[in-house]
Symmetry: C2
Subunit: 588 residues, 2 copies
Amino acid sequence: MASGKARARSIRQFVPILEWGSDYRKDTLISDLVAALIVTIMLIPQSLAYALLAGLPAEMGLYASILPLVAYAIFGTSRALAVGPVAVVSLMTAAAIGNLGLEQGTSDYALAAITLAFLSGAILLVMGVFRLGFLANFLSHPVIAGFITASGLLIAASQMKHILGVDAHGHALFDRLATLIGNVGETNLITLAVGAASIAFLFWVRKGLKPLLLSLGLAPRLADILAKAGPVLAVAVTTLLSVAFDFQGKGVSIVGDVPQGLPPLTAPSFDLEIWGQLLGSALLISIIGFVESISVAQTLAAKKKQRITPDQELVGLGASNIAAAMSGGYPVTGGFARSVVNFDAGAETPAAGAFTAVGIALAALLLTPLLYFLPTATLAATIIVAVLSLVDFGILKRTWTYSKADFAAVAATILLTLTFGVELGVSAGVVLSIVLFLYKTSRPHIAEIGLVPGTEHFRNIDRHKVLTHPQLLSLRLDENLYFANARFIEDYILDRLAHDQPIKHVVLNCPAVNAIDLSALESLEELNRRLFDMGIKLHLSEVKGPVMDRLQRTHFLDELHGQVFLSHYGAMRALGPVDGTKPKLAAE
Amino acid sequence: MASGKARARSIRQFVPILEWGSDYRKDTLISDLVAALIVTIMLIPQSLAYALLAGLPAEMGLYASILPLVAYAIFGTSRALAVGPVAVVSLMTAAAIGNLGLEQGTSDYALAAITLAFLSGAILLVMGVFRLGFLANFLSHPVIAGFITASGLLIAASQMKHILGVDAHGHALFDRLATLIGNVGETNLITLAVGAASIAFLFWVRKGLKPLLLSLGLAPRLADILAKAGPVLAVAVTTLLSVAFDFQGKGVSIVGDVPQGLPPLTAPSFDLEIWGQLLGSALLISIIGFVESISVAQTLAAKKKQRITPDQELVGLGASNIAAAMSGGYPVTGGFARSVVNFDAGAETPAAGAFTAVGIALAALLLTPLLYFLPTATLAATIIVAVLSLVDFGILKRTWTYSKADFAAVAATILLTLTFGVELGVSAGVVLSIVLFLYKTSRPHIAEIGLVPGTEHFRNIDRHKVLTHPQLLSLRLDENLYFANARFIEDYILDRLAHDQPIKHVVLNCPAVNAIDLSALESLEELNRRLFDMGIKLHLSEVKGPVMDRLQRTHFLDELHGQVFLSHYGAMRALGPVDGTKPKLAAE
């Protein structure tokens, strides 16, 4: 019985729909349907636009917004996350396939996008099953912030060609701008007018529409939601204008034929050479997508005191991407803006996502003929307005004030992403964060400490008036002791002693030492021997339980010429009165 | 005046010979001369043998033992370090040039060795001038131990072909053994007899000669030094046998022509393509050579209460390698065994090294004709006996007992070095050590703590009988807070609270938190907001000075809903008596 119960729990854990689906009620249904309707209206132009950004035909954006949402509804744990195409992952998809040297618009390019979704899904599933979600933690906040800002600029720049109606290419910002400026003389003025007007309208919708609706007496939430429908209005109006004034005949780029109907059944390429070429990109897309998704999911869950399970989220997103690969889509993840709208519109369960999928499926069945005349400049305008809100140079100032290491990571990520593209930018950011962390821990803070008069507390002699003893050197080690700093600490102590002859005892105060690895242990052994050769005893104080347990498995404590004291005060009392010398104020 | 003095000091700092040379005395001279004589006798067979190991003509071993020693005497800071060809660096030289696809015995191969010495010297000099010696700290002790053990096995295996007189090739152990076994039928029996007898003799010299000499009444130090002359005796005897019985005519490989005279003036290749191919290897050789050298130099200096300057050691070793490149040598570093002999024989200053150089120069001028008939099997035997003392599988047991992460680093380094060669082995070991360290710090120890009755101390509730309060959760964070663990800590706390409803206050006890980076700060801000949404206040206690300084530059302390307490006891007293609930023993 017990094992049957455990099995049932473990199945539910991997298929969360069994959990929330079992007590699904009518009022939940209504909330979910309303949220789904609003998200569908928002998602139609977005899915078309992001497919354009990824260099794919518009319908692939719609396909990526149907089955993947159903898969997430079954396997995901967030109740408000709205999965589908998103800007940054679309940009990364274009960069990844561009690396293969394939041209946009070809069937090989589309197959590569499907394969990328498949590989990304497989990686996410593997990470979920093996609980490797912690890998995403190595993307530090500054690196993510820098990457998102740079990506926003790259995306906006990439769309400028659609606004001007000219050609431009290259992955890095400067390449793109250079070819764009070279071709600026060929600007199509009608395209430019449509693009510029759409941008202006969409910015006004963001800033001006909501206050207007509020002043007209609408409820704030309704005003908020209506403002999100701005892109749909822009799409409708510019499509009508395009039909009325024959934009196509005047050289304006339009969306053209979008196949009508449900997504086709597709399969990824199984060419191992292509897998090898796409694997690195798929890993980056998976991790970036997961990080973007998990942070919004956690924020929204916390607002309702719900919890999401990061490792199960990997499974949910993995299933979504596999579904995308099987139904003509491309890599998807949880989108920030859409999820917030979904949450605000009242989504109660992942079923809202499944209902959104039905909405998009209906659009694919019924609305695609209407999209024929839609100018691509309108889609580019929706992208530009959406991504410019991602650009935040404030992070540079924040990090500069707080920590130069974090600033270096942000600045390098932004510069490298803009100069060399998304993949190199984010990889370099991660490596730099790790290198800076290792560098900091390899040169730890070591405080010489003394007794605060009248207490049993010890403080840094440079910051406080404290009592010290001429024959006793008390050093607080403010870091784990490990291979990268073992020699530094050894050298620091020996250098310190070279200038101070009367010292007979060195006590290392260890409350901040959470671990001592073998390299550091051997350094301590060596230090113990060398100090003894100099007539000095090495002692430890306030060693933590887990560290002490480990030391007891070695000969170190037998070989130590000094003692291990439970408290530093105890050490000072036991060692202080050597030959009657009195303690003195460090400041004297 | 002052600036002149400072300049003089800074020149002395970079040219230590000006320091110790200015008070050089007659008794120091005699000590240095005796030590130099003994090291010369030891170095002659070693330099020939290690050149053979590196795949170079024997005379390059002698050349690498002349000018480099003089350069080190001028720029080095260790008074006992004996610089010259060493086993591990010779093996790495062979591996590096083998990667280029050059064949041993060609002039291109020799030029590559000279270029490698030049690049290695340049890297060491740059590291010294820019004080980058700390980079060597990222080679953890387990990685070094594993690498040295595996190198010892690889070197011994590489010499088996000389003992058997057959052909064998490949960088990895298994390749080598496979080709060796394939050719074992062609074994030259005389070569085998010479090799086996030399090995047996040299092992006996190590184990049996010293006790014998002692029982004959010799002083222990003299007995020790005489035992080091064993290889010279083996060289002399086998050379005489080779002449007497015409080994050359019987197919025994002999050293052959060794040019007589002082080292030629040489220059490295300046082909940038070759530089590119050798640079990675040169970097590894520099760091491995520096680590080997610095550890023996520090140990010997400590015995005489002297200090060496790691960054100046880089300059000394760099100058040595540049000197090697200019005088027909190949990469050199401070050798472990020879330095100990030099120290024990009484070397007082680096001048002992310069005198050794004179000794080797005399050997190159006068003794080379005598080496013509020396069987290479004898040299191979001296190498095998020397390197087998490097092999220490005990490190596997030590690390297994102490820490599984250290064990993994040792085991991986040994296995990868044996399987894929020295360069990949040591690189993988370094990367693995770093990954394991990051993994550990990404999942920090978090202790729930309670008050030890009758004191103001707090301890882990799982280890001690302590008092806790039902509305107060006290957590001690045993790690720096940084990007890799920020989300882990956030998740841990939220998970912990999900199971414990009455909690109103969470106090994070931070004496072991030495740094909080921006990612962790943002995590704390998020945690503060989320807890507040749940009706819980977040507090901190015992935040360290440098961490507090940094937090004060942000809005965090203003936004924090709880307080920052100087002591955790203070926090418990201030927060404990919420609505009169009494503290209870955690064990109850």
